[in-house]
């Protein structure tokens, strides 16, 4: 299937890229690895007049750590580079597991962190060919007026289905954006808008340049659990990232849990705070797991039913907390270990 026509612009520096964004305005769209955008362009979900290929911005490809700045990841770091980083595997296991679970090795080689965080939301009625969508008259998110998932409503339920975001949310990451008005850094949690159409709190002329994880979160135990039908290729149908720091007495000192693929945005679980200062108890873990399904509000946007996805969120949260607290290794059904890095 061929692509619509466009003008390709390949800036060699961030400044050139920002200039191009300014020049072409809303007609331009950024492409990095293209693993999300190109298939969508084939389906005519996007027909930008100008495609701004940022792969030439070598300055945005880095993975580095220092005790002050913490972990710094450039937007162009590939998912393979993240999943193969020994440093990340050791100090930020939740991110390692999430990255290693993305798509397939072939796609991880092309896909970038920036693209992963800016991933378009997904829905069975949206990610279809132009012919398919036209035969139905489009949907709220694209070319139509009706949401086929929740008819009558005017809210888009397409689900954010990236894996790194929940891990990074749990690690309190911030995102760095560059734009014509200068650079800004905001908490990742504030980057997302829980609306399948709005998606991101990012201006059209801004570029995501990188992500930072505070140094104090290095060494956190973490687990990423992902529901998918195949163990490779498939996007998540539900995902849970959990991190925890315990003291020597087994008291939880810090814990955060984030969900993905069950809402238009990845979400932190507010209730996780209730774990702090507590000893392990099955009852408490159950309670938090139960609370998680209040945050998870999937509709029929993907192959599994909303009921099943919520049920799995609950099981994943419970299993992740048990495993983290009791120091067990993540079990099957979760993200697989990346085999190449160890």
């Amino acid at each position: 299937m061929s692509l619509p026509a466009f003008k390709l612009v390949r800036p060699r520096s961030l400044d050139e890229a920002l200039e191009a964004l300014l020049r072409y305005g809303p007609e331009a769209q950024i492409v990095a690895g293209g693993t999300d955008l190109i298939p969508s362009m084939k389906q005519r979900l996007f027909e930008p007049r100008v495609l701004l290929d940022v792969k030439g911005l070598g300055e945005l490809n880095y993975i580095r750590f220092n005790p002050e700045a913490g972990l710094e990841l450039g937007a162009l770091a590939t998912i393979t580079e993240i999943s193969e980083s020994a440093l990340i595997a050791r100090e930020f296991p939740v991110l390692h597991q999430a990255a290693a679970s993305i798509a397939s090795p072939l796609l991880r080689n092309l896909g970038t962190l920036g693209g992963n965080l800016c991933l378009d939301t997904r829905c069975l009625y949206y990610n279809q060919s132009a012919f398919w969508r036209e035969s139905l008259g489009g949907c709220l998110k694209k070319d139509g007026h009706i949401c086929h998932v929740a008819p009558g409503g005017n809210f888009c339920w397409a689900a954010y289905s990236g894996d790194c975001a929940p891990a990074l949310l749990a690690l309190e990451a911030t995102v760095q954006l560059a734009g014509p008005r200068g650079n800004r850094e905001i908490p990742l949690a504030e980057f997302y808008v829980n609306d399948g159409m709005v998606r991101l709190r990012k201006a059209q002329d801004e570029i995501l340049i990188g992500v930072r994880v505070p140094a104090r979160n290095a060494g956190f135990e973490g687990i990423y659990q992902k529901l998918r039908i195949r163990k490779s290729i498939d996007y998540p149908l539900a995902g849970v990232a959990a991190v925890m720091r315990k003291d020597s007495g087994g008291i939880c000192r810090e814990a955060r849990i984030a969900l993905t693929a069950v809402n238009p945005a990845p979400r932190l679980l507010p209730k996780a705070e209730a774990l702090i200062g507590k000893e392990f108890s099955a009852g408490l873990v159950d309670e938090i797991a139960h609370e998680a399904i209040r945050t998870a509000k999937p509709l029929t946007t993907s192959a599994s039913s909303p009921e099943y996805r919520r049920r799995m969120i609950r099981i994943f949260v419970r299993r992740a907390l048990e495993d983290l607290w009791l120091g067990r290794r993540p079990r099957d059904g979760g993200a697989k270990k990346d085999l190449l890095s160890n």
Partner: protein
């Protein structure tokens, strides 16, 4: 004859496929890899409605676009066609009605894909939307707005068979059980999307290169629909990237490319998008199977009654054949004295279903083998044992007229039970782990051709030259299953020459003799027998010539390692090449022909529908699945499959194992994850991301076990290997799940959600 007795024979050894060099280097050409000078891109306009009348169609603006060379609509394609003589209900482009989302409305040929797509957008069609028939059971009660004329209640075909007396059988039974099964629609999803290149020469002769399993039928259909004499149509099959039945009928693009090429006066190539492949489909229909079975306390089956309803989609296709296979093979794995079958093929406004690996037998076999385990559980009999107690006693003819000569099923059952340590495990594994067994069988080629005729099913010509090289000319279609290799091995074996001395020219209707195609697992048996006959004929001529040369009777001569000598006297030998020239005189090429026709005794009974099901030989399979079930998430992990398959004789164990593994694996996909999901006539997963074909990480270890029952009529004893193993794995998994967690899974695919639902129901029932 025992093949093993011939030294250096390639038969029985694990030789690489003869076309593997082309495939591992990327040099081999598939249809979409071919180009001719001036080739145009063809594109098809599809219907956005499931059921609608075409009120007006205006394609004039498409034709005016620069770069567009042809636009063809239904008005210009009046001739109806279909793979079965009784089902000519398709047209290249729709006439007055469209019958499914994706139906073919018009075609264009243009200089580039972009222009062709733009031309499609310029075609204006006004539709009058009709009520669509989307639900199988509702469709068969419909009174109005029927899908085709002459098909009341949207029933394409129904069959009612009764052998023996089932009521008497139920009376004689100690237990009568009824179960209902529901199997989702699945598709072939061969990795190569269909592609066709069509070109007319200056004399008006047409050549078509196409991804087809049936070049011969394609040639006939092209001639019929384009209203040309058959001798002016040539079909060439290049490499084909998998078929599994999806290329075993004429697919709309094959005809569309040809009509467009004729109108444009230039070659036209159409390659389907993956989405279009799903609309062309012809896969396994959604099937509802209801079974009622009587059994005595000792496990002997007394009667079975089956009612099968299949959702055939909008056209006939192979539908009646699918229906008949479902009925004819329902009972024939076992000895069941009384059998009744009611089958309904229903039309709905969806893409047509058709033949898919294990054609017609898979869903019914899943149902029966699961049902049999339910019965065994009710009687407290071991599932392997109940199967042993109902075996056929060949040679025999089943109650519905299928002649069985070789029957490796008992051995298959024994071998898998032994390999899996069945008796130590069944019922003894911890909760959550389970083991299950099941069987299946399949035809080695349909005994009766699709178009009734007395011509042989397969003919092979053989040419030997003065260099001692043999060239096989065969119509049989290699689609990745090893068809070319098996014929080459048989010929090399028979002529006592090395495999690399055998060349093969296959599937070119202008050059190769008639073979009906790659479907119903017929190639090894039928083309293999034809190749064997041709080689024997060549050998006879050679030995006769050599007999004159040596001046001894031909019977005393041995042909081995490319040389001919008198038995016991290797020293004085005549090189084969020389003998070929002696035999060919005055020509320089020796020609021999062999053909295969099914024996009259193998062609089945005389009742309506008796023609489908009979085969000269049947393959058998028994499988054991080991699974674990996570009762919290409902996720099933298949740990291992033991698959014993009776292929008669493994001419090439490497490719036979490949076929068995591939079949088992494909069956696992149907068991656990594959499903075409429909919402209001719209396919929700028309792509390989959402139609989930398993990756390496989802694929368990499969341990093939080859059983060789040496069929008396098979070429060197061989039978089919490419389809029969698919069916058994599905019930083996379902039965293993029962062993693991105590629930019967009666709906396919067996998703985690269905497991959880079954577990909840069980809990409600038993309160535990």
């Amino acid at each position: 004859m025992s093949a093993g007795s011939i030294p250096n024979s390639p038969v029985g050894s694990r030789v690489p496929m003869v076309d593997s060099f082309e495939k591992v280097t990327g040099a081999g050409k598939y249809a979409d890899d071919l180009v001719l000078p001036g080739t145009l891109v063809g594109k098809i306009l599809h219907s956005p409605h499931a059921h609608a009348r075409i009120r007006r169609l205006d394609a004039s603006r498409a034709g005016q676009l620069p770069g567009v060379f042809a636009v063809v609509t239904g008005k210009e394609t009046p001739v109806k066609y279909g793979i079965l003589p009784i089902g000519h209900d398709e047209r290249i482009f729709a006439d007055d009605k469209v019958r499914y989302i994706g139906d073919n409305v018009a075609g264009v040929a243009a200089e580039s894909a972009e222009i062709a797509e733009e031309a499609l957008r310029r075609i204006r069609v006004e539709y009058e939307i009709l009520p669509a028939h989307l639900d199988l059971e509702k469709s068969m009660r419909a009174e109005s707005n029927l899908i085709h004329d002459g098909r009341p209640h949207n029933i394409e075909k129904e069959y009612h068979h009764h052998f023996g007396d089932v009521e008497a059988g139920f009376k004689a039974a100690d237990l009568v059980r009824f179960d209902r099964f529901d199997c989702a629609e699945v598709t072939h999803a061969a990795l190569e999307p269909h592609s066709t290149l069509a070109s007319f020469d200056d004399d008006g002769k047409l050549t078509v290169w196409s991804s087809t399993q049936v070049p011969y039928y394609l040639m006939k259909t092209l001639a019929a629909t384009l209203e040309m004499p058959e001798e002016n149509v040539r079909v060439i099959k290049p490499l084909v990237g998998g078929g599994f039945g999806g290329k075993s009928e004429v697919i709309p693009l094959e005809l569309a490319a040809a009509v467009l090429a004729r109108k444009a006066g230039r070659p036209v190539k159409i390659t389907y998008t993956r989405e279009e492949v799903f609309y062309a489909h012809r896969g396994r229909p959604r099937t509802i199977v209801e079974l009622k079975t009587g059994v005595r306390r000792d496990g002997r089956l007394t009667a079975v009654e089956g009612r099968v309803i299949q959702d055939g989609g909008a056209f006939c296709g192979y539908g009646p054949v699918t229906m008949l296979y479902s009925g004819q093979l329902l009972n024939a794995l076992y000895d069941i004295p009384n059998v009744k079958y009611d089958g309904y093929r229903v039309l709905t406004n969806k893409p047509a279903c058709g033949a898919m690996r294990g054609h017609g037998t898979v869903n019914v076999r899943y149902a029966f083998e699961t049902h049999l385990d339910m019965i065994a559980a009710g009687l407290g009999i071991d599932p392997a044992e109940i199967r042993r107690r109902n075996l056929l006693k060949p040679p025999c003819v089943t109650i519905n007229g299928l002649r069985i000569l070789s029957y490796g099923y008992p051995e298959c059952l024994e071998r898998v039970a032994e390999a899996s340590n069945w008796s130590e495990k069944r019922g003894k594994l911890p909760f959550g782990k389970g083991i299950g067994i099941a069987g299946s069988h399949y035809v080695s080629g349909a005994a009766n051709p699709i178009i009734r005729s007395d011509q042989p099913h397969s003919t092979v010509n053989l040419e030997l030259d003065g260099e001692g090289t043999a060239t096989i000319l065969t119509g049989a279609s290699e689609i990745g299953q090893g068809s070319d290799t098996v014929q080459a091995q048989i010929v090399a074996h028979e002529l006592g020459i090395a495999l690399d001395r055998v060349k093969i020219v296959a599937a070119d209707t202008a050059r190769t003799p008639i073979d009906l195609g790659s479907y119903s697992s017929r190639v090894t048996f039928m083309a293999g027998n034809a190749a064997l006959a041709a080689a024997r004929e060549a050998k006879r001529q050679i030995l006769n010539a050599a007999a004159t040369y040596f001046d001894v009777p031909a019977e005393r001569l041995v042909l081995e390692d490319g040389r001919i000598f008198e038995a016991g006297n290797r020293a004085k030998a005549l090189p084969l090449a020389q003998a070929v020239l002696l035999a060919a005189k005055p020509e320089t090429v020796l020609r021999a022909t062999g053909s295969y026709s099914t024996p009259a005794e193998a062609r089945g009974g005389k009742y309506k529908g008796a023609g489908v099901g009979p085969s000269p030989a049947y393959s058998y399979s028994a499988q054991v699945a080991e699974v674990s079930v996570d009762v919290e998430t409902g996720q099933v992990t298949v740990e291992r499959i033991y698959a014993a398959h009776d292929c008669g004789k493994a001419i090439n164990p490497l490719t036979v194992e490949g076929q068995v593994e591939g079949s088992v694996w494909m069956g696992l996909g149907q068991a656990l994850e594959e499903e075409m999901v429909w919402k209001n006539g719209r396919l929700m997963n028309a792509g390989l991301l959402e139609y989930r074909s398993a990756s390496t990480l989802d694929s368990p270890e499969i341990r093939p076990i080859l059983v060789e029952s040496a069929d008396p009529e098979g070429p060197l004893g061989a039978k089919e290997a490419g389809e029969g193993s698919l069916a058994a794995v599905i019930p083996a998994v379902a039965n293993a799940i029962y062993d693991a967690v105590g629930v019967w899974m009666t709906t396919l695919p067996i998703t985690p959600e269905r497991i959880l639902k079954a577990l909840e129901e069980k809990q409600r029932r038993t309160g535990s």
